[in-house]
Amino acid sequence: MAIETQPERAQGAGGGLPAEGGGGRPWWARPAIHTAIVGAVVGYLLGHALGDYLTGATGAANQYPNVPLSDSEDWPIVLGYTLAIIGWLAGLGVFNDILRQMVGRPISGNGRAHQNSGLARFFRYELDHKVVGIQYLVGMIIYFCTAGLLAMAMRTELLSPVNHVFTSQVYIEIVGEHGTMMMMLMTSVIVGPFGNYLVPIMIGSKRVAFPRIEALSFWLTPMAFLILLSGFMLGGFPFGWTGYAPLSIQATVGADSYAVAFGLMGVSVALAGFNIIVTVICYRAPGMRWGRLPMFVWSMVSTSFLFVLAAPVLFAGMYMLIMDRTAQTAFFEDSLGGSSYLYENVFWFFGHPEVYILALPGFGIVSELIPVFCRKPLFAYKVAGAGMIGVSLLSFFVWQHHLFDSGINPDMRPLFMVTTELISIPTGFIYLVALGTFWKAKIRFRVPMLFCIAMYFNFLIGGISGVYLSDVPADTTEHGSFFVMAHFHYTIMGGLIFAFMAGIYYWLPKMTGIKLNEKLGLWHFWIMFIAFNSTFLPLFAVGDAGQPRRVFEYATNLQGLNDWVSISSYFLGFSILLFVINFVWSTVIVREREVGNPWQSRGLEWQVSSPPPADNFDQIPVVLSSPYDYGVKDAQPVADLHPPAGVVTAAIMSADAARVEA
């Protein structure tokens, strides 16, 4: 029985969430971002004092009377961060209902769902998935721009091989902050805004499975962002985003900000993934068979599985790192029985799935969008789904290609070479699907479509250069050089971020009812596309000419190329500035309404008004056909939004019956 559905009672008004209670308090006494900040500050001070007390730093320096063999400086920082996170969440009111339930009082509900439509709800622990989606969207743009500015600072330093803008210390801090911020926060760049906002609407559900977990996953990201940035105040960390031990153990307290923030983000994405998996499995409307699931939802599901399986490994790694730094456990210290290989393996066992976490949502968006702009069904739907599932499965079996030169078990190299190269087969499926969809299509070059095409182009270069890196002899030259750096910027920035932009131009009218300026969008696209390629294509040559990553000094004969790259990167930054201007201009100043279906899309999310009503659907819809049936004569509508009474109930009954029989 293909029809699976959700219990009707869970779909009542307010998405089953309690209405507002305990009102009447003035605004400043209600939990929101300002109380969260107070909570975080109080928590940090408490934790810091506790750490000082435990290590005896308040008395004579370096005596550690209470915690022998520990690092006096790390304890206060780590405990401060930990309590700051708890204080932040407590200030947001995350624990209110949990505590109320524990003592048997009725829950008041942070989810004053839909009761307050003002701007204030975006600054609260709000349980509506549409609010969380917008929160994520704005948050991700802020995080991306911050890390992007750091990248431009790096390129400024690399303008000259001998004259320095920053000291090497500041440079290495910026390198670490840029890399870590991008790699840890951009994991959610599409799952966060679009996954949370659109998946329930795309599958015909009024809600997500775990609204509290979903909202929590967002509210951990600002904390991770701030903790990571606070590393600058503690002297930064000198080990990039990979944090290889023992360098990360010997580093100063700035390294604690890295470990805590990265671990926290691991928790956030694991929670987000958990919610999306359960939502998609359990909350599809009747008729939303697996074979009708939009490609974007497939990509969200496969990404979420990677979240749930990979992020705990990261968390474990960061936990061991923190223990090594504070309690001096020596997990990664060779001379005391640990191994630096352990860290490398743990890190990349998370780290390689993570780069597919960054690629798959991009595949999902482009596969979702091209049928709309080609006015054709998606070519080889099952192959596309198989590609995503194949990529996510294989991604767990390739991590040692990061360690080809590390000296770890050489006899495993042929195996990891095969698995790494195998992963290009399912990735190739995404291209088969695209090329098939282009065949005899009526391609409309609107801004989202241009970003999709650019994503295919960029990812093609990124993917092909990745095959070089899977080959051990070729990798011996390219490992750790700018070649690798160019490769993964092509896949992540060229793939994920271009797809993210496509998603914004495409779905912002859906999410806000406001259209982005298309002319500015075209300018944004062309400058970004040209500047991106002009920035990163020369870096392949720079890497093959022997420039290692993360250096502040390089061979003088490479200055020409490096300068070209640096200047291009300013244009790239300018294009992002254009985007931000467009975003702010369109959503804050002009606010041109776009309530219909501007792309004539068949997607279920476009069948409801923009922005969607409070409960997404008045009634649970019955899905009748594929979202990609373009050009089909007398195609059925994609869904019946007002099914006759009893249809949904009957579907539930039959589904239950089928389950009982099974």
């Binding site: 500015l149 001998v162 210390q169 010997q250 580093a251 020596a330 804050v588 100043i589």
Partner: protein
């Protein structure tokens, strides 16, 4: 919200973000310890002699890390000790260096760096006596090294006696137990920035040893700027 209110909010938000960004750039990114200039007025390549004076202390009580070992540089005009590790010398000159070693001994991770290289005559003078190498493992008398890899300079630093009570307040004065190391080298003719560092895990241990002061400019590592 009405349009004017939205615009005002936007402008305020923009100014706040811009101010924050400027603050971060100025306060964190462009921050650098002060530079002490030696041989001001000495023209390059005349073979003139420039005298550089440093001390290395077991702690740095004038910084936010009072328990970190640290170098100090003496300003040649005011003779005040400056908490920095960045100094400027003219190119192509003879640099006479005096370093007061106040910190206790630590064995070198790699005893190879007990060898003096890159100095004029291949020797250093410890309290006036020439040495071409110091064995940091057989006897405990090496505190740190002063190394400029760019010109292959490496000088192990002698320490006060093992039994001595080390100076406790930075910058130390010559009343505290110390050994004085002097040596000379020719500054390179090519101008530019040459980094210098210490090759002893200055925290004294193996894991944290190279962290902290070792990797913080202003403590145990810094820049020698060679100008024309």
């Amino acid at each position: 919200m009405a349009l004017p209110a939205r615009i005002v909010t936007l402008v305020v938000a923009f100014l706040a973000v811009a101010a924050l960004a400027v603050f971060v750039v100025v306060h964190y990114f462009l921050f650098s310890p002060p530079t002490v200039t030696f041989g001001a007025g000495v023209t390059a390549d005349t073979g003139a002699t420039v005298h550089v004076v440093l001390q290395e202390d077991p702690q740095n009580t004038v910084s936010t890390h009072p328990d970190w070992v640290s170098y100090f540089i003496q300003d040649p005009t005011t003779h005040k000790w400056v908490h920095t590790t960045i100094f400027k010398v003219p190119a192509g000159s003879r640099i006479d260096v005096t370093i007061y070693g106040y910190d206790g001994c630590t064995p070198l991770r790699n005893p190879y760096f007990g060898k003096v290289t890159g100095t004029i005559g291949g020797v250093e003078y410890v309290n006036g006596k020439p040495y071409s190498q110091l064995d940091s493992w057989s006897a405990c008398h090496v505190g740190h090294t002063f190394s400029i890899p760019g010109i292959n300079l490496n000088v192990p630093m002698a320490t006060p006696d093992l039994s001595a009570t080390l100076c406790g307040v930075s910058p130390c004065t010559t009343a505290s137990p110390h050994r004085t190391v002097t040596f000379s080298f020719n500054s390179p003719t090519a101008t530019g920035t040459y980094f210098w560092q210490c090759r002893v895990p200055c925290g004294g241990g193996f894991i944290d040893g190279f962290g902290g002061p070792m990797q913080t400019i202003g403590f145990m590592t810094g820049n020698m700027e060679v100008v024309s």
